[in-house]
């Protein structure tokens, strides 16, 4: 059974207020995944305070990095269940966990942060991990 909207809406707003687009249906997910060009960050948001309480501010901090993804999208695990299931279907070899964070470049999954690498870290540590990945995968190639 999905969580109460009263409970999850503030957690959703932590991301939508900084520019994330919610993917609420499988069709939303497919439309996002069909865009082949560019870079993207997908956050599997969740209610878990032990981990998600660090994930959301960690993502916020990471997005202050110079190199950052073009598109920001999120699904809410345990709430928007069909959209979450559809998003996970695009990388079925990776065990599902939430919160978790996926980075895409030209629609290819290039980096994944599972729940266990969020739950025992501070927001600053989560941000540092993501910034490093942004620099590695999203930084523009130097002009030749």
């Amino acid at each position: 059974m999905p969580y109460s909207s009263l409970m999850v809406n503030p957690m959703k707003e932590e991301l939508t207020s900084i520019g994330f687009q919610e993917l609420l249906t499988p069709e939303d997910v497919d439309a996002f995944m069909s865009e082949r060009e560019g870079t993207a960050l997908l956050v599997f948001n969740s209610v878990c305070g032990c981990a998600a309480g660090q994930a959301r501010p960690g993502v916020h901090l990471a997005l202050q990095n110079e190199s950052r993804p073009d598109r920001l999208v999120t699904v809410f695990a345990g709430q928007d269940t069909e959209a979450t299931k559809q998003a996970r279907s695009y990388f079925e070899d990776i065990p599902p966990s939430s919160p978790s964070i996926a980075l895409f470049k030209n629609s290819e999954l290039v980096y994944f942060v599972p729940r266990h690498r969020i739950e025992s870290r501070s927001a600053e540590e989560v941000a540092a991990d993501l910034k490093s990945a942004f620099d590695r995968y999203f930084a523009a190639a130097p002009a030749s």
Binding site: C50, G53, P96, I118
Partner: protein, 90 residues
């Protein structure tokens, strides 16, 4: 903002690797650890040598990608535990 259960100890909600003195290693989300047992939720279990992987091999892969839940919950008695580590620290 989130849900917290501070009364259940430092490992509550954390994904831990529980190695045993036997052939099994368990990985799951810790509910609570007492003098008698550790209770895990969403538990993966691997038996040494299963599918050609040692316990260490299995834990190494889990540290990179996560775990596939095999059991809703499982309690391991203290006398069977060799070590408890955070998966995120490996």
């Amino acid at each position: 903002m989130g849900t917290f259960h501070q009364d259940k100890g430092d490992l509550h909600g954390i994904t831990v690797v529980v190695d045993t003195v036997g052939h099994e290693v368990y990985i799951g989300r810790c509910d609570e650890m007492t003098e008698e047992r550790i209770l895990l939720h969403d538990v993966d279990v691997h038996r040494d040598g299963e599918d050609g992987r040692s316990k260490d091999d299995y834990v190494e892969r889990a540290a990179r990608f996560g775990i596939w839940k095999k059991l809703e919950q499982f309690a391991i008695p203290t006398e069977a535990i060799a070590s408890v580590r955070r998966l995120g620290d490996l």
